[in-house]
């Protein structure tokens, strides 16, 4: 059978969802952001949520997320996406509101806002792209940067004595009674992408069911910041990031359930 015989509408098994716009993404080749955008766009489409969705873009590489997914968007100040989403969701309780944040945005400057939105159990989805670095500003240290990791502000590697410890903020988030579903995923393999999509789907459903805050961390790469090729980045992530940020569900319950501590 010739290739041209296979490439026919009736044989189509995978294509770009129509919720992804035609604007080419500004991300570096191989950047995880694109994959996560795709997951969101596909799910919003599949779940029929385009007219209910309001996305909140961060300050970070994903600042232009609003150019790529065809829904209404707001661009929030650095770190404040959870507050912005709280505002939206409180006065529009039937909207599907989500934030999309990087590790600098969420865990550093925005630490108070994410902790409190999750503690209040705001009915939102938080997508947390943990690439262990500040991608947008040129690769400085993030709270999640691993010990010894070289960045623009830790040119000799993160020294925990000077710069503090890599922060597993998602573990803390999971203990806040306002969260219902907290999970950590990755998107560097096809299997990972499919699993992650399932997790995001569940998280969205939780929000629709008004179960409180759903939180999906995606352990990601920033090949530009890491100064590795995309493929080498994925490998480095598997060997270094994932052991420290192990994948899997951290909480799957109902809002209001208190942590053990």
């Amino acid at each position: 059978m010739d290739i041209q015989d296979i490439i026919k509408p009736e044989n189509l098994v995978y294509q770009k969802t129509k919720l992804l716009t035609d604007t080419p993404m500004h991300y570096c080749p191989g950047c995880s952001h694109g994959v996560v955008h795709k997951i969101l766009a596909e799910l919003i489409d599949e779940m029929g949520l385009q007219d209910k969705s309001i996305g909140v873009a961060p300050v970070g590489c994903a600042v232009f997320a609003y150019n790529y997914i065809d829904i209404d968007w707001q661009e929030a100040a650095h770190g404040r996406a959870p507050a912005v989403a709280t505002g939206i969701s409180r006065v529009n309780p039937d909207a599907f509101v989500f934030t999309y944040q990087g590790d600098g945005d969420l865990a550093s400057i925005g630490a108070a806002e994410i902790m409190h939105a999750c503690n209040r159990g705001e009915n939102i989805l938080v997508i947390f792209i943990n690439n262990g670095i500040y991608g947008m500003t040129g690769g400085q240290m993030a709270p999640t940067t691993l010990e010894g990791m070289v960045t623009a502000t830790t040119p000799n590697g993160r020294n925990v004595e000077l710069n503090g410890y890599p922060m597993r903020i998602t573990n803390l988030i999971a203990q806040l009674p306002g969260t219902s579903y907290v999970t950590r995923q990755s998107v560097h393999t096809a299997g990972g992408v499919r699993k992650c999509k399932k997790a995001v789907k569940k998280a969205i459903q939780n929000v629709l069911d008004k179960k409180g805050t759903s939180f999906v961390e995606v352990v990601s790469t920033c090949n530009s910041g890491w100064k590795l090729s995309p493929v080498a980045s994925n490998k480095w992530m598997e060997e270094n990031m994932i052991p420290y940020y192990p994948l899997g569900d951290m909480k799957d319950s109902v809002k209001g359930e208190h942590s053990e501590n």
Binding site: H26, Y27, M136, S224
Partner: protein, 183 residues
């Protein structure tokens, strides 16, 4: 003497460091210099450029709308900067990846097959020095002596052993640059 120029291409082509060597060479010749890069996330995977001014007198704005010389190393930059060369100015480009070559007739156009030459030299990293050499051939604004000093200044100590290689590459550039006549 004032030379107002832009060097534009992909990130990774050594655009910024070529500018830096040029500027340092200017300093070695006791000239005033400014070096102003494009900056920010739009650089990412995309284009990078740097405006360099070398002058005998105090330099005003480091940012320009028009250039005496434009060194252009990819199509996007060609689209953006061909029109910004002053009438009578110089446009120097590497034809590799250029789909629409320059068409202006009121400027002096030169081309240097630097990508090709660098591959031939077995070291793609000297690409920018080949271009730099060809530029200095076309616009001999600085003495080669001072350029060598500038090179030494702008390279960290541990790379000084690479200076001869770089000088060779510049020599290569001087040799292969050719004027283009737009018809």
């Amino acid at each position: 003497m004032t030379e107002e120029m832009i060097i534009a291409g992909f990130g990774g082509q050594g655009v910024l460091s070529m500018g830096k060597i040029l500027a340092y060479s200017g300093i070695m010749e006791d000239k005033e210099v400014t070096w102003f890069p494009s900056y920010g996330p739009e650089m990412r995977g995309g284009t990078a450029n740097v405006t360099v001014i070398v002058s005998d007198t105090r330099i005003s704005s480091p940012v320009l709308q028009e250039y005496d010389t434009a060194i252009i190393l990819n199509q996007q930059s060609m689209d953006k900067f061909e029109k910004a060369v002053k009438p009578g100015g110089v446009l120097l480009y590497d034809p590799n990846g250029i789909v629409n070559p320059p068409t202006r007739t009121d400027i002096n156009i030169f081309k240097v097959e630097a990508t090709k030459a660098s591959v031939e030299m077995g070291n793609p990293k000297v690409f920018n020095m080949i271009v730099f050499g060809s530029y200095l051939k076309v616009r001999p604004i600085l003495s080669l002596d001072n350029v060598e000093k500038g090179l030494a200044k702008s390279l960290p100590e541990r790379y000084h052993k690479l200076i001869p290689l770089n000088l060779d590459a510049m020599q290569k550039g001087r040799e292969i640059v050719e004027e283009v006549n737009v018809v």
